[in-house]
């Protein structure tokens, strides 16, 4: 029991150290560059405590649940040997986690506003909601497709850069044809799609698959799923902007 306690305390300290740089930056800029007092000290103290506890709990939960779930499911699918179900699982995981992602919802609403201002769509609420929803589904679909493709790559053992480099070429080519207003959003949507809870799960899935399949190296083959998930939304969102 004492050991567990110690581990928890150690992790708390670790989390505190992880967060220290942010506070250092904020305080130094506030006090010395902007030369203003720090407001609401109590709020900041309480908030800091929360952030430290939250990060500690998250990391404990990571090792207890998200990593093992991803890995055991990867093993189970590899043992079952059904490519169809594995690919369907990969797609559902990508699609399901992205469609409800709050960061994406925010970006999609913002994008609808820009599109309305730029005259791409009507400035009515209805048209904007449709546009935002369409965008969200496009991104969710593209992330599902990305995880599916990434899993297929691990199974087949294709080198990662054979797929990433054509992806880059795709992004660059699309950039020349997509409407200007959508480019910034498309580029950003690549980064915001992968949430904090999805990343560990998907990473564990990839690494688990690469360890379960013979002749695959978890280090070279296991990573790369997130890379696809940040690349395909750029291409799909630009395509969405071109079609509409």
């Amino acid at each position: 029991m004492l050991q567990v306690k110690n581990k928890f305390v150690k992790q708390l300290l670790g989390s505190f150290m992880d967060l220290l740089p942010i506070f250092a930056v904020i305080f130094i800029f506030q006090l010395f560059i902007l030369r203003q007092p720090i407001p609401n000290i109590t709020d900041i103290a309480v908030g800091t405590g929360f952030v430290v506890i939250g990060l500690t709990l998250f990391i404990q939960g990571l090792e207890k649940s998200l990593f093992p779930i991803g890995e055991t499911m990867a093993y189970a699918f590899a043992k079952k040997g059904s490519l169809f179900w594995l690919l369907l699982f990969a797609f559902s995981l990508g699609f399901g986690t992205t469609a409800a992602e709050p960061a994406l919802i925010a970006v999609a609403d913002e994008a609808a506003r820009i599109a309305a201002e730029g005259g791409l769509i009507d400035a009515t609420d209805n048209a904007k909601n449709d546009y935002a929803l369409g965008l969200r589904l496009t991104v969710a679909f593209s992330v599902g497709f990305a995880i599916l493709l990434g899993v297929l790559r691990i199974i087949r053992g294709w080198p990662l850069h054979y797929l990433i480099i054509p992806g880059y070429i795709g992004v660059v080519t699309m950039t020349f044809f997509a409407p200007d207003a959508i480019i910034g959003i498309a580029y950003d949507s690549g980064g915001v799609t992968t949430s904090t809870i999805t990343v560990p799960l998907v990473t564990a899935l990839g690494v688990g698959l690469a360890s379960a399949i013979r002749d695959r190296n978890p280090m070279t083959d296991g990573f790369g799923l997130i890379a696809f998930a940040s690349l395909t939304p750029m291409i799909f969102v630009m395509a969405y902007g071109m079609i509409l």
Binding site: I22, I44, G61, L62, F67, T97, A99, G191
Partner: protein, 264 residues
């Protein structure tokens, strides 16, 4: 009381966030794999930790960091602070904004270091590589990448250079680095681009981008404010590849030295 309400609301939204993931997992486990979960109790406890952890983390960020951080981003980009040296309707001196670049670099570095998704990937990479890749070094490399990315991204907003020019140049560099990098690191490097930008970094960086784009005449906050995240996802790839090349070069050199000594 207010605090309790806030915690409860965040807990609900985190639950809503996690619900589709749990649904997909349970469906496939029960319908396709058709076996009960092993260590079920542990998984449930772990999941509760994850959900509570995310809730406290988000509430804490909202209380301690985001209000100050975003207002700081707005103040640093405002004309009162910048005191432009030129008539901005004629030309914009990019040097005037040096505090913005410095702040972008510092905040990008610091927030990335605290990004839970990156911590997760770094822990996994250290486990799998048997310690050859140190979680801490990886996180530092990624943070340096984000820091360079954000500060270059803010420069882009000030100077008004097209986003895609930077992105294309970045892609070319990444491809060249890929050719010369040790194969082992490539997947991890590409992944680190996607994991850097989530919970902590995005809100602060978005505030910086939009604040900057609204204070500079001729920039449209809605169009130019975007793009910083793209920088923050591209530069870590370069940074991690560079770190791998550097580590490779060091070990290669020590090997050569050892061979030299044996030769003597």
């Amino acid at each position: 009381m207010m605090l309790l309400n806030e915690i409860f609301a965040t807990l609900l939204s985190t639950l809503r966030d996690v619900a589709p993931i749990i649904f997909v997992i349970i469906f496939f486990q029960l319908v396709v794999i058709r076996r009960p979960f092993s260590h079920f109790k542990n998984l449930v406890i772990g999941m509760i930790y994850v959900i509570l952890g995310m809730t406290f983390f988000l509430v804490g960020l909202d209380k301690a960091l985001f209000p100050l951080g975003t207002s700081m981003a707005e103040q640093l980009t405002s004309d009162d602070f910048i005191k432009p040296s030129t008539d901005q309707s004629l030309s914009i001196a990019w040097q005037d904004y040096y505090w913005v670049y410095i702040f972008g670099a510092c905040i990008g570095f610091a927030t990335t270091l605290a990004e839970p998704a990156l911590i997760a990937v770094a822990i996994k990479a250290q486990q799998i590589s048997g310690g050859a890749i140190k979680a801490w070094y990886l996180r530092i490399a990624v943070s340096i990448g984000v820091s360079v990315g954000i500060s270059l991204g803010t420069y882009r907003i000030v100077s008004g250079i097209d986003l895609y020019l930077f992105i294309i140049a970045g892609y070319i560099i990444v491809i060249l680095q890929t050719i010369f990098s040790p194969k082992l690191i490539i997947g991890l490097a590409y992944d680190s681009g996607g994991v850097t930008t989530s919970t902590v970094t995005v809100p602060l960086v978005t505030a910086l981008g939009i604040g900057l784009a609204s204070s500079i005449p001729g920039r449209n906050p809605l169009m130019d404010g975007f793009g910083l995240i793209a920088f923050a996802s591209l530069f870590p790839i370069m940074a991690v590849l560079a770190y791998a090349q550097f580590a490779d070069w060091i070990s290669h050199r020590t090997q050569l030295k050892q061979l030299d000594r044996k030769g003597e």
